[in-house]
């Protein structure tokens, strides 16, 4: 684990530590209630609750925090290797069944209920107990026990000279879950591969809802709805008591202003006012207002895939996968539907009611074929993308700019520019600079650093590189499209404004009383400009505010009185 294969390659140990650190910091950002622990095995020293040899529990199961990240950092690189040797040291032997035992103990020490328990085994040894069949068989038995108690065991196997052969030992240990999923990872030789493998396992699938998909009156299957894209926000602030920095609880109560008495929910109703008329409903009724259908999908029909309009995007899509637990045979029917939709290049248009009290919307179920990358990691799962379709109300007519077509020469020049700035987009290419900076700040404060580390803003254009790549193309393009005196950075409106406000055009307004009176009686006062009206108000010493209507009102009132 501590030997690198190539000169500049990370050692498998280093890679594992960095991977674990990244899991820690990701958990802090995405799901800070999850518990993590780190256990070394094959160590010289030992530290565990049952005093097994060669097993060192570095961190018990707990929320990831700053201190733990710092502790992991000590094991990084050459210095880390030294630190490890000094503090823990390499052992000569271990028993995998004991390792699993210690891990299981960590889980049972946690007092509250966990929805999900997982052990990830980072190793580049494909045959740990090759010469000791008793140990090997004990490990297999123990792994089976863990499975029965709902603890998942994953192999994060690292590159081994000559290849990591799972058939020697691990195939029998890790079977159960993977056979279901049908995913067999390749060994990881690069950190990013390992990270992806770990991330794929450590994120727990959470189903948003399980719903019925009605194909017609008689045929129904059940599906699960999943969120694959979800805006990550900065966590909300918590209020702390100034003296002790302990979190305080907040309570909201409703009371009657007149009597000061607290009001129960039943003492209130809900109201809206339209055109001076008040409409009052019970709270339950306002909920009911939103009720249309039973939750679920109702198939309306099919349309060719090409009719899906990219620019008719409404909100981020969801993912639909069969749910066998409620109706048997759902997966089979789903699979048939998916196969045929892919084959015929159609999407299913449905009416979708997500919850009991939510209004229905139209959605397109767009078939998606399973895709694996060269590491055999699934990059696109099989199922349907649930794409929301806008209602007529959601579309707005925009005042478009008149079409002025570029000529082929201009288009070609732009094509050259586009080609120069080609890159491969990956959905995980960009980190959110706002979130990153927030967590850097937190880290700095937690560690009492003087200055927080500045997060690299990946969303900023790399203008220098771009300019260099484009070279003279930009000037050539500008010459083709922009007139010589044209300034694309300047503001057109500014020039106009200058002309108007400082030019000689500004009229001196003077209106006779007769004229004003005539305007008032004819109701044509509104034809006058605001400066004229202001001037008129000033003449009669009227205070009229700034808005035209206010000026009009004041003047009308004045003359009607007179």
């Amino acid at each position: 684990m501590f030997e690198s294969q190539d000169e500049d390659e990370l050692t498998p140990f280093d890679m594992s530590i960095q991977c674990i650190r990244s899991v820690y910091t990701n958990k802090i950002i995405s799901s800070n209630r999850d518990l993590l622990a780190v256990v070394f095995y094959g160590t010289k020293k030992d530290k565990n609750s049952v005093n097994f040899k060669n097993i060192y529990v570095l961190q018990e199961l707990d929320n990831p925090g700053v201190k733990r990240v710092q502790e992991l950092d000590k094991f990084k690189g050459q210095e880390g290797k030294k630190y490890f040797e000094d503090q823990i040291g390499h052992g000569s032997d271990y028993s995998l069944s004991e390792v699993l035992w210690v891990c299981a103990n960590l889980f049972s020490d946690v007092q509250f209920k966990m929805s999900h328990k997982r052990i990830m085994l980072f190793t580049n040894e494909d045959d740990p107990h090759g010469d000791d069949s008793a140990k090997a068989s004990r490990a297999r038995t123990k792994a089976g026990d863990l499975r029965d108690t709902g603890i998942f065991l994953d192999l994060m196997h690292l590159k081994k000279r000559g290849g990591f052969d799972t058939s020697l030992f691990y195939r029998d240990v890790i079977i159960a879950e993977n056979e279901d999923i049908g995913i067999h990872f390749e060994e990881s030789s690069k950190l990013e591969d390992l990270l992806r493998k770990v991330r794929a396992k450590e994120t727990r699938k959470r189903v948003l809802s399980r719903l019925k998909l009605k194909l017609n009156k008689d045929v129904t299957l059940t599906v699960g709805i999943y969120n694959m894209v979800q805006k990550a926000y900065r966590p909300p602030p918590v209020r702390l008591y100034r003296e002790t920095n302990e979190p305080v609880k907040t309570k909201t109560r409703t009371f009657n202003v007149n009597t000061g008495s607290l009001l129960l929910p039943s003492d209130t109703k809900r109201s809206q006012t339209y055109s001076h008329r008040q409409i009052v409903l019970e709270k339950e009724e306002t909920e009911e207002l939103k009720r249309f259908d039973e939750p679920g999908f109702i198939l309306i029909g099919f349309k060719p895939l090409m009719m899906l309009k990219k620019h008719h995007y409404l909100r981020h899509s969801l993912f639909v996968y069969p749910e066998e637990s409620l109706i048997n045979g759902s997966s089979t029917l789903f699979s048939a539907l998916l196969t045929k939709c892919l084959e015929k290049e159609v999407m299913a248009v449905c009416r979708y009611t997500p919850r009991r009290n939510s209004p229905p919307c139209f959605v397109a179920l767009v078939p998606q074929e399973e895709e694996l990358d060269d590491q055999k990691i699934q990059v696109a799962p099989p199922g349907f993308q649930l794409v929301f379709l806008p209602y007529a109300d959601d579309k707005r007519k925009v005042p478009f700019t008149e079409k002025v077509m570029a000529n082929p020469e201009q288009v070609d020049k732009m094509k050259a520019i586009v080609q120069k700035l080609r890159f491969k987009y990956r959905s995980d290419s960009f980190e959110n600079p706002v979130l990153q900076q927030h967590f850097r700040n937190m880290e700095a404060l937690a560690l009492d650093l003087m200055e927080p580390e500045q997060a690299v803003d990946l969303t900023l254009p790399k203008t220098e590189v771009m300019d260099k790549r484009l070279g003279s193309l930009v000037d050539e393009f500008k010459e083709l499209v922009y007139p010589p005196d044209y300034n694309p950075e300047g503001k057109v409106t500014k020039r106009k404004k200058d002309d108007e406000s400082y030019g000689s055009k500004r009229p001196k307004v003077e209106l006779s009383e007769e004229e004003l009176k005539a305007h008032v009686s004819k109701g044509t006062l509104g034809k006058l400009t605001v400066p004229a009206l202001k001037e008129a108000c000033r003449m009669y010493g009227l205070k009229g505010g700034l808005k035209k209507q206010e000026l009009l009102d004041v003047l009308t009132e004045h003359f009607q009185k007179a």
């Binding site: 929320n63 894209v229 805006k231 990550a232 900065r234 209020r239 702390l240 008591y241 100034r242 309570k251 909201t252 409703t254 009657n256 202003v257 003492d267 109703k269 809900r270 809206q272 339209y274 306002t286 207002l289 249309f292 099919f302 349309k303 899906l308 990219k310 620019h311 409404l314 909100r315 539907l337 196969t339 248009v349 139209f362 767009v366 990691i377 099989p382 209602y391 007529a392 109300d393 959601d394 925009v398 005042p399 478009f400 079409k403 077509m405 201009q410 288009v411 520019i417 700035l421 080609r422 987009y425 959905s427 979130l435 803003d457 969303t459 771009m466 500008k478 044209y486 034809k527 209507q549």
Partner: protein
């Protein structure tokens, strides 16, 4: 939201002439249909609570009342209501005050009256839009001499027009934004020309087409609707479209190339804006209620601490880190102001739709009246289109908002071309879930028979019509042209669907018949207390539902008692109008013939609905003291 820049003046111009009342048996007359469409429109306006003003002009009225009338000019045209905010009174007017006339009036004269009204009454007020909506069957003669002047004036003063006719006029698929498949009804209704129309009407259609073509070109034809179309899609009203604010910026590629652009929101989810305020159950006033938030320590006594004694902090994993607002402000990410900067270009297939996120679609055009910018942007749009590539850009709305990374792809239409911008996820927003494969899984592999069944299902449920000859595909179910039912619902007031709820309650035995009918009666009482026609119809639905279910569940006595009590109440409360509806719909006591448990004869039931003087004294006698809500309930 009511914003002055988005205010509109709308004149509803309705033909009430003789022919509007003609209809085929069992069909509603154009007069009734037009009223329905107008009611829907005004309802929507009332609840939208914007500052739009609406006027109502009738033509074909027996009398004449308009500013232009003189001698024999502009006769039989009545300005029923001047421009003002729509309210419930207007709704009631449309419902009950507008009566069919016995005259005919020149449609074009009526248009001139409307134009005159708009111009006079919007003077000095700022209206973003002025608009006339004409409801007519086109059967009255008109004189063409002023047509060109009218068109000229409409154009000059920027007044837009929409026509609502009793029949579809058969229009070709349109262009531009609305042109993605024509309106639904066209394909079901008769194609051009509609059957059974007179020569006069044909002439009228030609005239209307000419007006709309001259005003808006081909698109203008899309502003001519049939009543049934309008009833189905309220959204046809031009007015209800929301306008987007322009966002001006520069599209930059590297540090030396920038193009002046302006962007508009083109799609964003419209939500019900108004929320429910909490009011005191007794006084129904919101002022009487106040909410307060208190902070307390996490100890046994829940000791309260004042807000001043608390500070802000954030969780960082297991740690909570005190972090004041001031510190946060100073240390947080700052975006350096608005921008629309290209980060690079990639193949369009790399930016999959499943990654789209955010809550809006922006359409990006070249800046207004800037030909150089238009050419530059056009080059980019066509370059991307021809290369099948897209731009990945950094978008910042202004210095106070967070930056986004998004995709900008080309959209080329007949009338315009633009880039479409949609936000893409950050690494933190992605969830990489894995799912078991469906392919190599024995448990869920479908059989050939299953596959061919699904194949047949897809073919039988196709929502498109292919025209092999022309090679076109027609969308038979254009979802993006259907209005959101949630908005429609808001425009009915009152309890949503008590009649249906009642049925469900008693059928599913979720409540006893007694409880359910109590609730229903309560609703009916409330409806009647409003003394409004809209609610009367709802009450009728409830009563009918009550009657049907009572027969089903042998609870006829309960219904009969209720109806008898209701009759007395109606008398006390002077709801004669409502009782007329009951009589008209023939909703009477449940008879022996209908339910064996009843003792009422058909004869008695008939008499029950007869005017009071002749009513059977016996049936009413028991309820002489009736007439109050509580009484009604006690009886059951």
């Amino acid at each position: 939201m009511a914003r002055s820049w988005d205010k509109a003046a709308v004149v509803l111009c309705m033909d009430v002439g003789l022919a509007m009342s003609n209809s085929f048996p069992d069909e509603e007359s154009p007069f009734e249909l037009a009223k329905k469409v107008m009611t829907m429109f005004v309802q929507r306006q009332v609840f939208a609570e914007n500052k739009d003003e609406v006027a109502l002009v009738l033509f074909g009225t027996d009398g004449t009342e308009n500013a232009l009338a003189a001698g024999d000019q502009y006769q039989n045209i009545t300005v029923h209501r001047h421009l003002m905010c729509p309210d419930f009174d207007l709704l009631e007017d449309i419902e009950s005050k507008i009566q069919p006339g016995s005259q005919q009036a020149d449609l074009l004269d009526a248009l001139i009256v409307c134009m005159d009204l708009i111009q006079e009454e919007t003077l000095g007020k700022k209206f973003e839009k002025r608009h006339i909506e004409v409801f007519t069957d086109l059967s009255s003669p008109f004189s063409r001499d002023q047509l060109d002047i009218i068109i000229h004036n409409l154009k000059k003063s920027g007044i837009s027009l929409q026509f609502f006719l009793p029949f579809p006029i058969g229009k070709q698929g349109g262009t531009g934004d609305r042109g993605d498949g024509s309106l639904l009804s066209d394909h079901h209704g008769p194609s051009f020309p509609p059957k059974g129309i007179t020569e006069q009407q044909k002439e009228g259609i030609q005239m209307v087409k000419k007006v709309m073509m001259s005003l808006e070109g081909e698109d203008g034809l899309e502003e001519i609707y049939s009543f049934s179309e309008a009833l189905r899609q309220l959204c046809v009203f031009k007015k209800t479209e929301r306008r987007s604010m322009p966002w001006s910026c520069q599209l930059t590629i590297g540090s030396n190339l920038s193009i002046k652009i302006v962007a508009y929101k083109s799609i964003t989810q419209e939500k019900v804006k108004k929320c429910w305020t909490v009011v005191d159950a007794r006084t129904l006033k919101k002022e009487a209620i106040q909410k307060e938030t208190v902070y307390c320590l996490n100890d046994d006594d829940e000791t309260e601490v004042s807000k001043e004694d608390t500070i802000q902090g954030f969780r960082y994993g297991s740690d909570i880190i005190p972090f004041s607002k001031v510190d946060e402000e100073q240390m947080k990410y700052k975006s350096e102001g608005k921008c629309f900067s290209v980060l690079g270009f990639c193949r369009s297939s790399q930016v999959h739709m499943k990654y789209f996120m955010g809550n809006q679609v922006l359409k990006v055009f070249a800046a207004k009246d800037d030909e150089a910018a238009a050419v530059a942007l056009s080059s980019l749009i066509h370059a991307l289109d021809e290369l099948d590539m897209v731009a990945v850009v950094r978008y910042v709305y202004n210095e106070k908002t967070n930056p986004q990374v998004g995709v900008a792809f080309p959209l080329i239409k007949d009338a315009y071309e633009c880039l479409v911008y949609i936000q893409l996820p950050f690494m933190e927003d992605l969830r990489q879930y894995m799912f078991p494969s469906l392919k190599n899984n024995r448990k869920c592999t479908p059989t050939e028979a299953q596959l061919s069944a699904v194949d047949a299902l897809i073919d039988s449920m196709s929502l498109v019509q292919k025209d092999e000859e022309e090679g076109t595909i027609e969308d038979l179910f254009p979802t993006s042209k259907i209005p959101n039912p949630q908005f429609q619902r808001l425009f009915q007031v009152g309890s949503v669907n008590p009649a249906e709820n009642f049925r469900v309650l008693v059928r599913q035995k979720k409540a006893t018949f007694e409880e359910a009918s109590h609730q229903l009666i309560n609703h009916i009482e409330q409806f009647l207390d409003t003394n409004e026609t809209l609610y009367f119809m709802k009450s009728m639905d409830c009563i009918k539902a009550f009657r049907e279910e009572a027969i089903q569940f042998s609870e006829e006595q309960r219904f009969n008692n209720f109806l008898k009590a209701l009759r007395d109440k109606v008398e006390v409360k002077q709801l004669n109008h409502f009782w007329e509806i009951v009589v008209h719909d023939g909703v009477t006591l449940i008879t022996k013939d209908e339910a064996p448990g009843s003792s009422v004869t058909t004869e008695e039931a008939k008499k029950f609905l007869a005017p009071k003087e002749n009513a059977n004294a016996d049936s009413a006698a028991a309820f002489e003291e009736g007439g109050d809500v509580d009484d009604l309930l006690e009886l059951i």
